[in-house]
């Protein structure tokens, strides 16, 4: 009887310890917020090609097709957003609004980049929902969401996130 009671106590302590460790382990960083940098860009074609200095990190991408059909890129705004899992963040843009939702952060060991799954919604300037999408990208990789505007212009929302 006493031995059985001791074994029961030990098993209970084991379960509690494992549960506590599982809940408090630093590896469980899926709940940690991630930082996202969002840049709003307007693309157009002009006689004086230019790329704003703030857009240097994106310059090589903007010079590749299909963005190369424009030659002028102007930064309309920049946002630093901290995204928490399953909590939507709304960004007010020059041309409408964007809503970001961090759906999942998956660490994949030391040889693969952390995977970030996002929900993205974009409304135009009139409040009409233009796009609703779910995307998974590597941490640090750029994601560009854009739409064509009247007058042969483009509206780009470029973002990248890191844990």
């Amino acid at each position: 009887m006493k031995t059985r009671s001791l074994l029961t106590t030990s098993a209970l302590a084991l379960c509690v310890t494992i549960g506590v460790l599982a809940l408090t382990a630093p590896a469980a960083s899926a709940d940690a917020p991630i930082a996202c940098a969002v840049v709003e860009i307007e693309a157009s074609t002009s006689d004086a090609p230019s790329i704003a200095a703030e857009l240097r990190p994106l310059e090589k991408k903007l010079k590749k097709p299909p963005f190369s059909s424009w030659n002028t890129f102007k930064q309309l705004g920049a946002h630093e957003v901290s995204l928490e899992p399953m909590k939507a963040s709304t960004l007010t843009l020059t041309h409408g609004k964007a809503q970001l939702l961090l759906r999942e952060v998956t660490a994949r060991g030391q040889k693969k980049k952390t995977r970030i799954s996002l929900g993205i919604s974009v409304d135009d300037g009139e409040g009409k929902r233009v796009l609703d999408s779910k995307v998974a990208v590597d941490a640090g990789d750029y994601l560009v969401v854009g739409r064509s505007l009247k007058g042969n212009r483009g509206h780009l929302i470029a973002m990248h996130c890191k844990p």
Partner: protein, 208 residues
């Protein structure tokens, strides 16, 4: 037949001989032997009577003892608190003393639990994966991924740790009042890709 011995007479008195032997022994024993046999039988009766009386006296006590043993066997093991004498319960101890008593009663359990928890915690710490924060601090130097668009570091003297890139995935896309296009732009280093989701509204003729 010669005069029988005392042991033969005792066997006769105890009825351990068959009928023919008994008759032959009685004839040979004569009056003296007959008196001896009668005396032995009388003593035997007295001893048996005494023992039966003693057994009768002890029967009541023995039956109570067996009842007690059976009850003890049938009962579950009494708990420490329940087994305490009634006078202890009558004293109405305080909460603190009850707590202390409980810990006293479960000291072995607590020690075992604490040791188990410590052993598991030690194993978990030893076997636990490296924290993910190390993954976050590893970045590809700029000289390895030129024009990476912010993912590059400041180039060092150490060999770069190149992380394997996975192409972006568009899990779902819903476009209202337009056409959606998904494509990727390969970075110059060939490692990572930039996902592009482009919407061409129906009322805008020019697309990319």
């Amino acid at each position: 037949m010669s005069n029988p011995s005392d042991s033969e007479l005792m066997m006769l008195a105890d009825g351990e001989l068959d009928a023919a032997e008994a008759r032959a022994l009685e004839r040979a024993a004569g009056p003296t032997g007959t008196v001896k046999v009668a005396a032995v039988r009388e003593v035997g009766e007295l001893v048996r009577g005494h023992l039966e009386l003693a057994a009768d006296d002890a029967e009541e006590r023995l039956s109570g003892l067996w009842d007690l043993v059976e009850r003890r066997l049938d009962q579950p093991q009494p708990e420490g608190a329940a087994a305490r004498p009634a006078r202890a319960a009558a004293r109405e101890p305080g909460v603190w003393s009850q707590l202390v008593r409980w810990f006293d009663g479960h000291r072995a359990h607590l020690l075992t639990g604490a040791l188990s928890a410590g052993a598991v915690a030690a194993l978990a710490i030893v076997l636990r994966e490296e924290p993910r924060v190390e993954i976050r601090t590893v970045e590809v130097p700029a000289k390895v991924t030129p024009g990476d668009g912010g993912t590059g570091g400041s180039g060092g003297t150490q060999d770069p740790v190149v992380l394997v890139a996975t192409p972006p995935e568009v899990e779902s896309l819903e476009v209202n009042g337009g056409t959606g296009t998904v494509f990727t732009i390969q970075d110059d280093d060939g490692g990572s890709e930039t996902a592009v989701i482009w919407v061409t509204p129906d009322d805008v003729l020019e697309g990319i």
